[in-house]
Symmetry: C2
Amino acid sequence: VIGTPTAERIRSVFQRYVELVTAGDFEAVAALYAEHATVEDPIGTPIHRGRDAIRAFYEASAGSVSVELEGAVRVVGREAACAMVARPKNADGVRIETLDTMTFDDAGQITSMRAYWSPDTIHTE
Amino acid sequence: VIGTPTAERIRSVFQRYVELVTAGDFEAVAALYAEHATVEDPIGTPIHRGRDAIRAFYEASAGSVSVELEGAVRVVGREAACAMVARPKNADGVRIETLDTMTFDDAGQITSMRAYWSPDTIHTE
């Protein structure tokens, strides 16, 4: 399909996403998103709408956790999902098992993200 | 929240789901779904609406693959997601990396399922 971002491109965005969140580079994280993107993190909390709101969300949270992909990114067309593990930097041994679903536009920017984590998915190692 | 199925209940549905799909028990798979549930498997293909259409879908496909959960089920409220690996029984060494998102009703029945897999996520071991 003309304009659809490649699976390779989408996988690379997931990898950059976890690296930039871990580094606390909230400006670069926000730049992965399209102008009118939405973020629901975790699911059930108020949705952040637009890149400015998204930047503010990551400014408040990025850098506090080390995040890694768990297993392969599953890409289907303009959508993709991957399990992740997040470890708070200030809480030794705490492991948050999360999973993000994302949608993408023609340019390979994220148009929506939803994060599957809750008190139920937080464990102590 | 009153009526919300427990995380333990939702995790058990995921586990039963992969076991029943592997066994080819399409009637029991269909019974995991609510009467007016929807299935989009894989994402981008026509949506199966209602338990009868869902039963017909699994009748045509269940039993042809061995499916296992990969990693922990991530549960947040009435929603959950988990990576999975499916191996076609008639194709040695083929590994389909998939991932299902599901929503649930009060009774713990599945109200919607979407599957993240594509030619991009099929590999030969």
